[in-house]
């Protein structure tokens, strides 16, 4: 089978798949492969899932089923800034839901979506383990503590300005 023409996945990922294919029950490495793809491209595109299916000899429907079952897998591209609002118990009682609403309102997107300029995407998480600083928001790798809904427009403005 000649599939090389159609494969656009990164060479490192293809190599990793080749290694997996040499092992017993190669299909059990599907999740590991999807993690690699998401790590490299930020999300799982349909084309990449199709390619994983071809290379791993797993039905595309199975790949698609696994990718949509687990919340961790993203099926749409992520923005440059990935805003993650902690909705763990401590953050929630301190008003994280209102912080989330403020982000939604300012960005005009729903949870799991990305702004049309591909700058921001909005997500939530369970407890991040820094409850003393609740409510907590992370933007990429940076942690923001004691966030109030009022601070949200300012925070976003700052990041937008940095871009310009």
């Amino acid at each position: 089978m000649d599939t090389t023409k159609t494969i656009s996945l990164d060479k490192d990922i293809c190599r990793f798949i080749d290694e997996c294919m040499e092992k017993n029950h190669s299909e059990s490495y599907l999740i590991a492969v999807l993690h690699k793809v998401q790590g490299r491209y930020g999300y799982l595109s349909e084309q990449h899932m199709d390619e994983v299916a071809q290379l791993m000899q797993i039905p595309t429907s199975t790949v698609s089923g696994v990718a949509t079952f687990y919340h961790f897998f993203r099926l749409r591209p992520r923005g440059k800034y990935s805003i993650c609002v902690c909705l763990g118990t401590a953050c929630f009682v301190k008003g994280a839901d209102k912080v989330l609403e403020a982000f939604k309102k300012e960005l005009g997107i729903e949870m799991g979506e990305t702004t049309s300029d591909r700058l921001f995407s909005l997500e939530n998480s369970r407890c991040l383990g820094v409850c003393a600083m609740a409510p907590v928001v992370t933007i990429n790798d940076k942690v923001y503590s004691n966030v109030s809904p009022k601070q949200v427009p300012e925070l976003l403005n700052k990041l937008t300005l940095e871009e310009e």
Partner: protein
């Protein structure tokens, strides 16, 4: 295998230890209510309707997924169990549209029947209901996710029986939906249009793309000559739609019914089958001589053909280039017949009555266009659709007199009748090939070696001092098994008959839902329908395609000889690899 002792509802019984509670109960005549269970598919345990009480167990257990053990005491029908089972069905109904009266499966729906038998008389719960648009992109199969109850029978038949793996369960929890990969449209998927998902669906989440409206409209148009052709399998199954037992041959009544519906002429797809044998036997003899592109793979089943294009594009050259009997006959209707009868072919509307939903896809294929974007076969309706049309018209089918097909495209041999069952195309081809190779009439016409294939059958047949290795496969997982043997060189075959549906066309995706007492894909139903075809074959005076006098006349008057340039341009076709292999 060890036998063990259990007790069900106070009755002591001895059963093999490998049985499940559900199977054990059936041995004493208790059919525990069930929904997602199917005897030929893997155990899912998704619906929980078949729960029972087992002494010593804290929770109710699904009887389909629980094996028996020594000393097990089971209660299937306590007040608590009945209540719990009813609650489960009520919860399934809660997330199901209230459309029974306008639903295609009204009166024929397993969920409806279950709700009735369990005594659900109110819709108690009123919760959030899933909402999805109807997915009707495919010419063959439509998907209505709102009606889906997530039993996964379709997912299982698509992977376990057909080996396609087109359908899967996507997302999770309340958002779970059965669809092709990426929730894509069916017509842009590896769906081979066999329609087995329609057959196994307990509700109406999968249905054939309806074509009856188009047919009614054509019938109502006085300027259109509407011609019907019926596939071999229709006559063996149509009676079931009118309360007759499976396997009641109803050829003459079907012809009469079609005339009463207003069809201007009724021909037999069997004629196309005889013609297919003529062309295919010639093609086979040539390949045997040259040794090129062996094994020959039969090409009558459009589901199998699409499967080959998706999953085995490298074997396209092995496939017979013959059009299917339906397409051959439709082609002749708009050329030979139109010419002979001086009818403008643009005024002819050909309706194929087929046991198959993939035929709807075949009819639309660009290879089968007549001219100006008009196909040779204008519409394909399934056996189910024809039954419905007959009922809608108010025709009392079972008391109809028997009429004959119109001529000259209505005469067929016994070889054509058996096309509808697994092994039938092979047997028909062997009858003709054997006489052509030996130049002598056959002593015994019955090639029982290729009959009643339970999915897969191989045989070696001696003809004219030659050994022909033949194989018959039905259900595409079996096709995979045999094609892998061919690819690896493990086995060398001369000819392989392939049919997409398990049991062949008689168990096609467009055949009637099982009558009371039988289950979907019931092998017994397939066997009874097949025996109807074999009995028709036995009773015919002419049983070899090349002895069909009208076929001989057709070659004399119009086509020349089998494999002629004219025959090639009209009766043969091409296939397209669908790359990348097995995806989309």
């Amino acid at each position: 295998m060890k036998n063990i002792h259990i007790q069900i509802n106070g009755t002591d019984l001895e059963v093999p230890e490998t049985m499940t509670i559900l199977e054990a109960a059936e041995t004493i005549g208790i059919k525990i209510p069930r929904l997602c269970y199917h005897p030929d598919l893997s155990i899912e345990g998704a619906c929980r309707v078949c729960i029972v009480e087992v002494e010593g167990m804290k929770n109710y257990v699904p009887s389909c997924a629980t094996s028996v053990w020594e000393g097990m005491k089971v209660r299937t029908n306590s007040p608590e169990i009945r209540q719990a089972r009813r609650d489960l069905v009520e919860l399934i109904l809660d997330n199901h549209p209230k459309e029974c009266q306008t639903c295609e499966r009204d009166g024929n729906c397993e969920l409806q029947n279950l709700a009735y038998t369990l005594g659900v008389r109110h819709r108690l719960f009123e919760g959030k209901r899933k909402q999805y648009p109807l997915e009707a992109s495919s010419p063959s199969v439509i998907r209505d996710a709102e009606k889906c109850i997530l039993c996964r029978r379709c997912v299982r038949v698509c992977s376990e029986i057909q080996g396609i793996h087109n359908l899967t369960q996507l997302n999770r929890g309340f958002d779970t939906v059965v669809a092709p990969a990426h929730e894509g449209p069916m017509n842009d998927s590896v769906c081979i249009a066999c329609g087995q998902c329609i057959n196994v669906c307990p509700v109406a989440a999968f249905l054939e793309q309806p074509s009856t409206e188009q047919v009614w409209n054509a019938l109502a148009d006085p300027d259109t000559m509407v011609i019907a052709q019926i596939a071999p399998s229709i006559r063996a199954a149509i009676g079931e739609g009118f309360g007759l037992p499976p396997g009641t041959p109803m050829t003459g009544q079907t012809v009469t019914a079609l005339r009463r519906l207003g069809f201007d002429a009724v021909f037999d797809t069997n004629f196309g089958a005889d013609l297919t044998i003529m062309e295919e036997a010639y093609e086979f003899a040539k390949r045997l001589e040259s040794g090129v592109n062996l094994p020959l793979l039969t090409s009558c089943s459009p589901g199998w053909i699409k499967f080959m294009e998706h999953f085995y594009p490298e074997m396209i050259d092995n496939a017979s280039s013959c059009k299917s009997p339906m397409s051959m006959l439709s082609t002749l209707l708009k050329t030979y017949y139109a010419e002979k009868e001086s009818i403008d072919p643009d005024k002819i509307f050909v309706v194929g009555v087929m046991p198959c939903v993939a035929k709807k896809f075949e009819a639309e294929r660009p290879e089968h266009l007549f001219r100006n974007g008009i196909p040779y076969t204008d519409a394909v309706i399934t056996t189910r659709e024809l039954i419905w049309m007959i009922k809608a018209y108010g025709i009392d089918f079972t008391s109809l007199p028997q009429e004959d097909f119109d001529q000259p495209l209505g005469f067929s041999t016994g070889a054509a009748d058996i096309f509808g069952t697994t092994g039938g195309v092979m047997e028909a081809a062997l009858r003709t090939a054997a006489e052509q190779l030996t130049g002598k009439p056959l002593e015994d016409l019955n090639f029982t070696q290729v009959r009643e294939a339970e999915g897969l059958k191989e045989a070696s047949i001696q003809i004219a001092g030659k050994t022909l290795n033949v194989a018959v496969a039905n259900g595409l997982n079996n096709a995979k098994t045999i094609l892998e043997k061919v690819k690896t060189g493990e086995k060398q075959f001369h000819i392989i008959e392939l049919m997409a549906c398990p049991g062949g066309c008689i168990a096609g995706g467009g055949q009637p839902y099982p009558p009371r007492g039988y289950y979907v894909l019931d092998k017994e139903v397939a066997r009874m329908r097949a025996s109807a075809l074999y009995s028709i074959d036995e009773k015919k005076a002419v049983r070899k395609s090349h002895d069909n006098p009208f076929i001989k006349k057709l070659y004399e008057e119009f086509l020349g000889r089998p494999g002629s340039t004219k025959a090639h341009s009209l009766l043969h076709t091409t296939y397209t690899p669908r790359e990348p292999r097995g995806i989309k």
